[in-house]
């Protein structure tokens, strides 16, 4: 059993680490490591201690990079960790596994371990970066491997184990596999990970033990500690910071975080495996519809193996010319009329036109497919927006309305749901026009949810805010198109957009893409210009891929 789980996990991990999404998150992780412990003078910091920062001992760089990694990977890493079961379903691998003795618990355990390997590989790279930063900076020449790695083992790994378990759980719940799952996870992440710093709740980041240890060091150095505050998150600070010398968490201080870590890992295993209660192991009716990616052969269910064999056997004896062997017609199914009885040369002659409105409708249909109530939601949002008066340059409904199309936008820029449909589309004319049709298909839902709030803002004399809302409605589909084109999947957009949205509702300077903060927000023309640039970049990327196909 253990060997099976290990083999499954290893294969799954290998498959995923060769995907572009892995590289993107890994690069983000390494960049975060450099921001958390910058080598030169930098205004950016990840771990805040009022107006201080620590000397780069092994313990300090290990702690700040481990905390930064925990916050980053619990959000961005979740995006690439989930989707493993859906991929098995779509690729047909799931049906192969369903024909093996592997149990549901074993299968889910394999996916869980694979997620751990995914996170573990990134943490290894991050720890290596931390060590390199310490050596380059030269604050301390003494490398203390235990203190460098202890925060990773005590804090980051247990937290990411829980994230890995949740990723498996989300994969087993059909409603949480897509954009809705990304939105739900964002809320969970806000509450449990970012909220962990606030105190009072579960200390998932081990902050209590770390801050207590730093306070002891500061107090021992004669510094007042009452006003000292701690925080984890990417911020810019232009002040000249004082320094303190903290050796990091030692083995003697590990008990508290270790106990939390053990609890977290235990919970993670439970979360990952609980899906076995309802997961159908690719042999249920739900598994069949999504099995289309493999085309004709891949489309068969478990009985398809037999049917394929039947086809091959038939091929061996079938002689259309009737030379010898049983005639094919004798074995023909007599149930219903057979196809191909018409003369195709007598069918209506198709007329060529330009690729335009129909292609746009087709792309829109693909974005909205399977979500028949989506337009009902738009109508409800429109009614709510009409009923609520704007508050200065902001409209209370608009930010939430801009979340509604997220599952649709997640499908832009890639054909992940259509399997190898690129084989069919690759032989169709005018790829640029089709790309534009895909872009406008994403803009239409944005305009549908933003139109009424924009009208209300314009009616209230907030013309700039109305223009800002419309510019924002252009920006997000363009962002989705670029993210989807870059990674050929939905995860990057599902990670980036919630962060952007969070910054926007908190009126973070530069991120208010809907212009809700009035004159402090970026100019609508600038936002529209950025949208154009992002869309152009996505289309250019497609053109390059087409040129080197």
């Amino acid at each position: 059993m253990v060997t099976r789980i290990g083999a499954l996990a290893l294969a799954d991990f290998r498959e995923r680490r060769r995907r572009p999404g892995y590289l993107v998150v890994l690069l983000g992780t390494l960049a975060l490591g450099l921001l958390a412990a910058p080598v030169g003078d930098s205004r950016w910091e990840v771990f805040q201690v009022t107006d201080l920062h620590g000397r780069y001992t092994s313990g300090y760089v290990g702690t700040v990079t481990a905390l930064g990694g925990a916050v980053w990977l619990s959000l961005a890493g979740f995006g690439i960790a989930r989707g493993a079961i859906g991929r098995d379903e779509q690729s047909g691998v799931g049906r192969l596994l369903a024909a093996t003795p592997l149990s549901r618990v074993g299968y889910l355990a394999g996916k869980f371990v694979s997620n751990l390997l995914l996170f573990g590989s990134m943490l290894l790279a991050l720890a290596g970066t931390a060590l390199a930063v310490q050596l380059i900076k030269g604050d301390s020449d003494r490398v203390d491997t235990v203190r460098l790695l202890l925060p990773y083992v005590l804090v980051t790994l247990p937290l990411l184990a829980a994230v890995a378990g949740c990723a498996v759980l989300f994969d087993t719940v059909p409603g949480l596999r897509g954009g809705l799952g990304a939105a739900v996870w964002f809320v969970v992440w806000l509450v449990l990970v970012l909220g962990a710093q606030a105190g009072g709740g579960p200390d998932l980041l081990g902050m209590r033990r770390i801050t207590a240890s730093i306070r002891e060091v500061l107090a021992a150095g004669g510094r007042p500690v009452d006003g000292v505050e701690f925080g984890v998150g990417l911020t810019a600070d232009n002040r000249v910071l004082g320094t303190f010398d903290w050796p990091g968490l030692g083995p003697g201080e590990a008990f508290g975080p270790a106990a939390t870590g053990v609890l977290l890992v235990g919970a993670a295993v439970g979360i990952a495996l609980i899906g076995a209660l309802w997961f159908r192991r690719f042999d249920g009716p739900r598994a069949h519809p999504a099995a289309g990616a493999g085309g004709a052969i891949g489309a068969f269910g478990p009985t398809g193996v037999l049917r394929r064999t039947w086809d091959l056997r038939l091929a061996g004896v079938f002689r259309p010319t009737g030379q010898d062997g049983p005639a094919g017609g004798a074995a023909a199914s007599s149930a219903g009329p057979a196809g191909f009885a018409l003369d195709p040369t007598r069918l209506t002659a198709p007329r060529q036109g330009r690729i335009g409105f129909d292609a746009l409708l087709g792309e829109l249909r693909i974005l909205v497919r399977g979500q028949r109530l989506w337009w009902v939601g738009v109508a409800v949002l429109a009614m709510a927006a009409a009923a609520v008066a704007p508050d200065g340059p902001s409209h209370a409904v608009l930010p939430f309305a801009m979340l509604w199309p997220m599952p649709l936008w997640s499908r832009m820029g890639h054909r992940a749901d259509g399997g190898s449909i690129d084989q069919l589309l690759g032989a169709c004319p005018s790829p640029l026009r089709r790309g534009l049709a895909g872009l406008f298909a994403g803009i239409l839902p944005a305009l549908a949810v933003a139109a009424v709030p924009a009208l209300r803002l314009a009616g209230a004399g907030q013309v700039r805010a109305a223009a800002g809302a419309l510019a924002g409605a252009l920006l997000i589909p363009a962002l989705a198109l670029l993210c989807g084109s870059l990674t050929r999947g939905p995860r990057m957009f599902q990670t980036v957009y919630p962060l952007l949205w969070y910054g926007m509702v908190n009126h973070v300077s530069g991120l208010d893409f809907l212009g809700a903060s009035g004159s402090r927000a970026p100019a609508p023309l600038a936002v529209a210009g950025l949208a154009t640039a992002l869309a152009a970049a996505a289309l250019a990327l497609d053109a390059i891929r087409h040129a080197v196909r």
Binding site: A290, G292, A299, F340, L342, A349, G426
Partner: protein, 310 residues
């Protein structure tokens, strides 16, 4: 209804020229190697073992993949530099193709018709007719995800015919079709070959024998043979023998000769032996079938040499 000509055809003879075509993938794997052939209206059967380069060649002809070197000219236009004219004229059914499982067959065809740039009114009528052609009218509103492999294959065939292609490229099209449908589909291809270029790739040699008027055999990315079906059969004339041996004599026979098939009979095992000379006393020469000619052509060199030396 209209008997108008196929998309992309012009008053001259439709022609597809493949000139010294090579496709080399990363890692140096050469899938297509210096392939040269000119295609005119008719059905070309493309035969070859797995990995022979058939699918790579077809992907290049459908403009899905670019060649590493060489040219493909459609009506005199290089399809690598200007793929547009060919794409308006081609119908392509790959061996493996994806679908959007939430779309119905009708919606999926409408989507691809739009992607091919067909006008909506003519496309709508043609989609209904094609659904009837592939016997899916009753299932037109059914989601693709709920369809069987055979039904989805027929949707694939329908999409390849959407634009009334002047060049039809089909890769293993009969997988999932029942025997009667396979027969009729073969006839359909033959009929289309009267004024269109049809490239049919399949492992099922009898399908090619029944449908194609010319055959190209590929091996190791190269064109091993090109000619009419009769020419290929002639190349195997006098090299096919039948011999009945006791069952325990079959393994040694198999080790010494290339066998085209065996049949159990009350007298023993009747073996079809491919050899330039009579393999044993009592062996009688029989007319070759296309499989025999194909096997003789593609058998690995050592086996062929063994056969020739016998």
């Amino acid at each position: 209804m209209c008997g108008c000509g196929p998309a992309g055809s012009i008053s001259g003879v439709t022609e597809l020229q493949i000139l010294d075509l090579t496709k080399e993938y990363r890692g140096g794997k050469r899938a297509v190697d210096s392939f040269t052939l000119t295609l005119r209206p008719g059905v070309l059967g493309l035969l070859g073992a797995n990995g022979a380069g058939k699918s790579s060649l077809m992907r290049i002809l459908a403009t899905v993949t670019r060649p590493t070197s060489g040219r493909v000219l459609w009506e005199g236009v290089d399809i690598t530099r200007r793929p547009g004219p060919l794409r308006r004229a081609v119908g392509y059914l790959p061996q493996d193709f994806g679908v959007y499982p939430q779309l119905t067959a009708r919606e999926f065809l409408a989507y691809l018709a739009a992607a091919k740039g067909l006008r909506r009114r003519s496309a709508r009528a043609r989609i209904e007719e094609l659904l009837e052609l592939v016997n899916l009218s009753d299932a037109a509103g059914q989601r693709l995800g709920a369809m069987s492999g055979g039904m989805r294959q027929r949707v694939g065939i329908a999409q390849a015919l959407l634009n009334d292609p002047a060049l039809l490229i089909v890769d293993e099209p009969t997988v999932g079709l029942d025997p009667e449908e396979r027969l009729r589909f073969g006839s359909l291809l033959s009929g289309m070959g009267a004024e269109r270029i049809v490239v049919l790739s399949t492992h099922i040699v009898p399908d090619v024998a029944a449908t194609a008027d010319r055959i190209a055999v590929m091996g190791g990315g190269r064109l091993l043979h090109h000619g009419s079906t009769e020419e290929l059969l002639l190349s195997a004339e006098g090299s096919v023998w039948e011999l009945t041996v006791p069952a325990d004599q079959l393994p040694p026979l198999r080790s010494r000769f290339l066998l085209g098939g065996t049949t159990r009979t009350p007298q023993g095992v009747r073996a079809r032996v491919l050899s330039r000379h009579a393999p044993a006393a009592g062996a009688r020469p029989v007319p070759p079938r296309l499989e025999d000619a194909y096997l003789l052509l593609t058998a690995d060199r050592s086996a062929t040499e063994q056969v020739a030396a016998w």
